[in-house]
């Protein structure tokens, strides 16, 4: 099976959907002539022309709104944000227009739109450009939120997102674009709302998504050397969340660590823990432990940034804690 990068997997997903359905178009800053800030749309302008690959001014609210309007009249826009940090400016369109259109129009307008871009911290981009937004977006009824952690998932999920008639926010990762993985040549789709068990183990569950999936897998590798086998549950979709997959894993292992990039307060992990206490109370052998970013704006200084981010040592420490090993 071919091994490709996460960036190329995303590009392939959009390209295939644009070839398959001419209502699909890509719009955002630097997507056309520059071929994407992260080169996801490499070769798109030549292949599809400037009607379907549209460069915009630096006006997030504006082009998100154009996308919403296009979706209302039957097109299927893919809106690229250079980063979700910039998408803050567009949240009125995302939250108040896209997420509510079907509801407030009494079902008259579908909203087949995709908002995508890198999410979370990269390296030393400082406080304003190092934020994970999934809990903000997942809070909103009407939105779907996906956070693929591997090239395979990125392609399969993004294709499903483009075909979905509801607004879908795709949280990618700057540090993920260069990661590689097996992606088949033949077409496949991954349904939204389905988690995947990325690693099977009986001692403890790590429930995670997005970039942290790689950290969880590394933790599982290391802990396996000590004889501790981890169930790694990759949520893949934050909303709607695959509650059954969480329950199945925790009922098997009786212990859980919830790992995420974002902050603790009202984070995705808080929601996961809530599901666990509701559905798995009688199966818990230890309190659930969460791993997340420190409760502070992301520091710029390299050492401080490392200290603030959730990482491999923190994930391993959390597992040891929940296993009562320390």
């Amino acid at each position: 099976m071919p091994v490709i990068t996460y960036r190329d997997a995303l590009g392939a997903a959009i390209r295939e959907e644009m070839q398959r359905d001419d209502r699909v178009f890509l719009m955002g800053e630097e997507v056309a002539v520059y071929q994407g800030a992260y080169k996801v749309s490499k070769g798109f302008l030549q292949e599809f022309g400037e009607m379907r690959v549209v460069d915009t001014p630096i006006t997030e609210l504006g082009f998100a709104g154009v996308g919403v309007g296009a979706a209302m009249v039957g097109l299927r826009p893919v809106i690229e944000f250079m980063t979700w940090n910039f998408a803050l400016l567009a949240l009125d369109q995302v939250v108040n227009a896209a997420a509510k259109m079907l509801y407030m129009s009494g079902g008259q307008y579908k909203m087949p739109i995709v908002f995508r871009g890198p999410n979370g911290a990269a390296l030393q981009l400082s406080a304003q450009h190092s934020q994970a937004w999934e809990s903000w977006l997942a809070h909103i009824p009407g939105l779907k939120v996906i956070a693929p952690g591997t090239p395979y998932d990125a392609k399969g999920l993004l294709k499903s997102a483009i075909r979905d008639d509801n607004p879908v926010c795709v949280l990618e990762g700057e540090m993920l674009y260069n990661t590689k993985g097996e992606v088949p040549d033949e077409e496949y789709l991954i349904p939204l709302g389905k988690a995947e068990l990325k690693r099977e183990g009986e001692h403890c569950s790590i429930i995670t998504h997005g970039k942290m999936v790689l950290v969880a897998l590394q933790a599982a590798d290391q802990l396996a050397k000590e004889g501790i086998n981890i169930d790694v549950v990759d949520l893949r979709t934050i909303r709607p969340m695959d509650v059954e997959a969480i329950g199945e894993s925790v009922k098997k292992t009786n212990r859980a660590v919830v790992l995420e990039e974002g902050w603790e307060m009202c984070g995705v992990g808080a929601q996961v823990v809530d599901y666990i206490q509701r559905d798995c109370f009688d199966y818990l052998d230890a309190p659930v432990v969460r791993v997340h970013q420190a409760d502070t704006p992301m520091p710029y200084a390299k050492g401080l940034e490392k200290a603030a981010k959730p990482d491999l040592p923190k994930a391993i420490a959390a597992v040891r804690k929940v296993m009562y090993l320390d």
């Binding site: 009786n254 109370f281 009688d282 199966y283 818990l284 052998d285 230890a286 009562y324």
Partner: protein, 453 residues
């Protein structure tokens, strides 16, 4: 014409009485109104009086025995009258319809005790309507099945484990219950000794064949031997406390408001009064009683009774004050406390407490309170919550008054302070209503000169 002597309802809440002592012998001539016997009611020792003239022909209750209200206690008749038929009916309480005497007594009692008292006959006591009073008297503390001293609970796999102070994970609890393991028998290996799955599995592996053996732990109670303890039958007052307070904590939706009052001016006032002579001496408690009574007169919404289908707001303030006696709690009442002078309250409080301890209170002296106060300050209790004395709407629990460092105008100063906690029946008093009452009380206690206004 013979006169029956019944065990009468000598207090509004009395359901049974213990005949302490006969004051007349069989064959003695008695006159109507003359005391026949001393009876211990749920509150006090009272006299059972003759309701007719004649000779006390028969005493039907032995000294020391307890009998329900309405039980035939004796017969007064002429010396030669045949009373066999009357005596034959003894031993059972008079049927409800055929017992005019106790009813009449109850009615009289109600008049003297104030309209708030709710008389209750044994047959009508709630929740016990089907239990014959006779059996109730005979019922002793639950005996073990074998009749001997309390045996340890039979061991077996299906006994619900006591969960008291055992720390365990939810999973461990579920597994233990599935396997019939007593969590008390399992050593926990988790944080703070928490029992977790692996401990259950280890215990199950170790004692799979004998869960009953595992149930015996060092903390299991030793079979008590005679001499280690002494049993005392419940006195009427203890029974009443249990029943009444059980009634209270159950159906009464209670909430609590605590406030700390500054006693500086109360202390100044007491000192000034004491300097005028011993006859002007008042205690802090006297001031608090007076202040509470005055506050109640300004807050009739707190001075109320819950009467199931209505709330009765009282215009008069009859302040109950909880008094500890050797036998238990009793709440004598200072009638119209808001209209009495501090000196009167002081004298009356002292006198009532004294007679309560001697068990000499008359029924009208411990019934009819509209609101109560309980003070454990003399025991050094900082603050506590008191249980409402139904049907009252609230009770005020007063803690110890002590010197404390407090901040006044940004400066630390030593002040005399007292903490009070008001228990409120939420069916009558809402949070803000209670709080406003305490606000008034604070104003009065922190400015005691207002009490003379």
């Amino acid at each position: 014409m013979a006169t029956k002597v019944f065990m009468e309802a000598l207090s509004p809440t009395m359901e049974e009485g213990r005949l302490v002592k006969w004051l007349k012998n069989e064959g003695d001539t008695v006159k109507s109104g003359e005391a026949l016997a001393e009876v211990e009611t749920d509150k006090a020792i009272m006299e059972l009086v003759a309701r007719g003239d004649g000779v006390l022909r028969k005493r039907l209750i032995n000294e020391g025995d307890t009998a329900p209200v309405g039980t035939l206690a004796g017969v007064i008749a002429t010396a030669d009258e045949n009373i066999d038929a009357l005596v034959a009916g003894a031993g059972a309480p008079a049927p409800a319809a055929g017992a005019p005497t106790p009813e009449k007594v109850v009615a009289t009692q109600q008049e003297t005790a104030g309209a708030s008292s709710i008389p209750r006959r044994a047959e009508e006591s709630q929740g016990e309507a089907s239990t014959p009073p006779q059996q109730k008297v005979a019922a002793t503390p639950p005996a073990s099945p074998g009749g001997g001293p309390a045996a340890p609970a039979p061991s077996g796999g299906n006994i619900q484990p006591p969960t008291g102070d055992v720390r365990s994970s939810p999973l461990a609890r579920r597994l233990a219950s599935e396997r019939g393991l007593d969590l008390h028998s399992v050593q926990g290996s988790g944080p703070n000794g928490r029992i977790i799955k692996r401990d259950i599995e280890a215990a199950a592996a170790a004692g799979a064949a004998a869960p009953s053996a595992a149930a015996v732990t060092p903390s299991a109670p030793v079979i008590p031997r005679e001499g280690d303890y002494h049993d005392e039958p419940l006195t009427s007052i203890r029974k009443t406390i249990a029943r009444r307070l059980g009634e209270s904590i159950g159906p009464i939706p209670t909430f609590y408001l605590t406030a700390e009052f500054d006693l500086t001016r109360v202390m100044e006032m007491r000192k000034a009064m004491t300097e005028l002579g011993d006859q002007f001496k008042v205690s802090v408690n006297d001031v608090l009683l007076k202040a509470t009574a005055v506050a109640l007169s300004q807050h009739p919404e707190v001075n109320a009774h819950w009467l199931n289908d209505k709330i009765r707001y009282h215009n008069r303030v009859h302040l109950g004050m909880a008094v500890a006696t050797d036998d238990g709690l009793i709440v004598p009442v200072i009638w119209d406390a808001d209209r009495k002078r501090m000196s009167e309250i002081s004298r009356e409080a002292k006198e009532l407490a004294k007679r309560a301890r001697e068990r000499k209170l008359k029924p009208e002296e411990f019934t009819g309170s509209t609101f109560s106060v309980s003070n454990l300050g003399m025991f050094g209790i900082d603050q506590f919550t008191a249980i409402i004395n139904p049907p009252e709407a609230g009770i005020l629990a007063i803690g110890t008054s002590e010197e404390k460092l407090v901040v006044v105008n940004g400066e630390p100063v030593v002040r005399s302070r007292v903490r009070v906690t008001m228990s409120c029946d939420h069916r009558i008093i809402d949070g803000a209503v209670g709080a406003k009452f305490l606000q008034t009380l604070r104003r009065l206690i922190e400015n005691p000169l207002m009490l003379v206004y």
